[in-house]
Symmetry: C2
Subunit: 331 residues, 2 copies
């Protein structure tokens, strides 16, 4: 089958084996989204080799569960052993022997077919388009923040980053009623969140906000400390900034996975008693429910669509700093 | 008055001004302990200049509150503005304009006298010796972990470090009934915690435990992951080790304040959804109660005692890796 395969570099191949794993379902991929983690994987993050891709919608081609065949599905990306305490409790996200679609020991979605355990697959309601369904996985990851930190309408929250994950995070947090600030590097991306989050951009060492009418407001660290800062910039500069702007005993949520290390002055975490909370995958059901509610318009977050044949160009487009979500239409 | 004063280096001086701050109490210092933070301050940590020292017991010499005069006291080290919401709620530890005894904008305890607000002073019960009272501040900091993380008898806890803070931490956690492991570099220090915490030391890339009879057990990372890891080594190598040995969704408590940065691969925190929790000062009351209960024998944790005249030698002794608590007897 055709696929994008990572060996020493990412290549378009036509001789990849159709993945058939005993007892699992075979899914014909319809479309797949490129995530920053995919870009990092191509740079060497996680040491993954094979077919990347973990945000997808597809149709079940073959399954031990005949009732699944022909169903339009998305799939939770962590495939656990099925036996350990975590898996037995229905949450394989931290199973120590898990494989992860397109990330760890399991070929992913930038291919004509992928394989996942049937229990990982969730049917997509008719009201959700394929384009929207590609966002289920990253939207679930955004909603997963709610599993890791308590927040409410009184919470002052800053999201560092203005890219596709940050855009989903602010949208995912709107129902909580919290006060949202987005700190980014691209005015045109901050503008996409206008009305959802107050957007600030770095200009000459100062973070400023430009209103739609062009008026300028400064972000004042001294008074405007945040209860919760969510680091979703995908850059090693995000964490030091988060430490500066979170209040004492505040919480920093780390969402980005990137290859590089950050120089951390941990004494700052001790003195200000800051909590740094890692957050990775979320459950799919809340994301599907939110999309099905029709309250999210994600079309502005799609920068470009490419065919699988043009998959390498899709990656090139996704790497551009102005880019948001790039979708690969497989069939 | 006589004092140890830090300018470009630490010096013994006899011309320091007796500190008199309006509305505060003047305390004649009896004895003061040297903490790792003091050693870091002398290296440049926190940018402090003046008289260091924040672990002390003394006698109130002058006070606007006459009933305090002559009382033997210890003192909470954070002096808040008294006006902000935090101070009004009785907790100045994160007051943004606080001074901190011997650490921030306030001369400290390695001197004949120090000044603190009367509300910071707590009378020491007769059953607590001066030697024990010097431990109230660091023991409070150890007990402060309980404010920042939930633990119980089922919690598997590792403490990284075998120095004076780590020794207090394991002793402070004993009443919770949790299962304690101590990971250090000095067998003779690990032996001080025998019966309290299982002690492991690094030998040829492997952490081993030596029983009193000399039998050796290996610490197996794979299976022996910890619910909570407390980093109290005072070294930048502690955090990377903590990340390796904490279980997914586990908690790392950071206690050490040191001058250097650590290279953090934050993706590990994200993928394993680890929480990193900073913890600094605790309240004094629980520490005094624990000392007054008579259940703690801290005498083995005192390496040496020096007079204030020999204060520089005291610092030199505290810097030795075999050293635990060094006390300066002021009068």
């Amino acid at each position: 089958m055709k696929a994008l395969r990572l060996n020493d570099r990412l290549e378009l191949v036509s001789d990849a084996s159709v993945p058939r794993r005993y007892g699992e379902s075979l899914v014909a991929v319809t479309a797949a989204g490129i995530c920053n983690t995919d870009l990092e994987i191509v740079k060497g993050y996680a040491g993954f080799l094979g077919i990347p891709g973990h945000e997808f919608v597809g149709v079940v081609a073959e399954s031990p569960d005949a009732s699944l065949e022909g169903k339009r599905v998305v799939g939770e990306i962590n495939a656990g052993c099925g036996l350990c305490d975590l898996c037995a409790a229905g949450d394989p996200r931290h199973c120590s022997t898990r494989t992860v679609l397109g990330i760890k020991d399991r070929d992913g979605a930038f291919a004509e077919f992928l394989s996942l355990p049937s229990r990982n697959l969730i049917e997509v309601p008719k009201s959700i388009t394929n384009e929207q369904a590609v966002f289920v996985e990253p939207l679930a990851a955004a909603l997963g923040i709610r599993e890791r930190v308590e927040l409410d309408a009184n919470s002052k929250i800053a999201v560092i980053g203005d890219g596709k994950l940050a855009q989903l995070i602010v949208r995912a947090l709107v129902p909580s009623g919290c006060q949202l600030t987005m700190i980014g590097k691209h005015q045109e991306k901050l503008d996409l969140a206008r009305g959802i989050a107050a957007g600030f951009i770095l200009v000459n060492d100062t973070f400023i906000q430009r209103s739609a009418a062009g008026e300028v407001t400064l972000l004042n660290w001294g008074e405007e400390r945040f209860d919760i800062v969510i680091e979703a910039s995908g850059s090693e500069t995000g964490l030091p900034l988060a430490i500066e702007i979170v209040k004492p005993r505040g919480v920093i949520v780390l969402k980005s996975t990137y290859h590089k290390g950050t120089l951390l002055y941990s004494a700052k975490l001790v003195v200000n008693e800051i909590s740094l909370i890692g957050s990775r995958c979320g459950r799919f059901k809340p994301a599907i429910d939110l999309l099905a509610s029709g309250s999210l318009d994600l079309s502005a977050l799609i920068s470009a669509r490419f065919s699988l044949d043009d998959g390498l160009a899709a990656f090139e487009a996704a790497r551009q700093s102005a880019s948001l979500k790039v979708i690969i239409d497989v069939r």
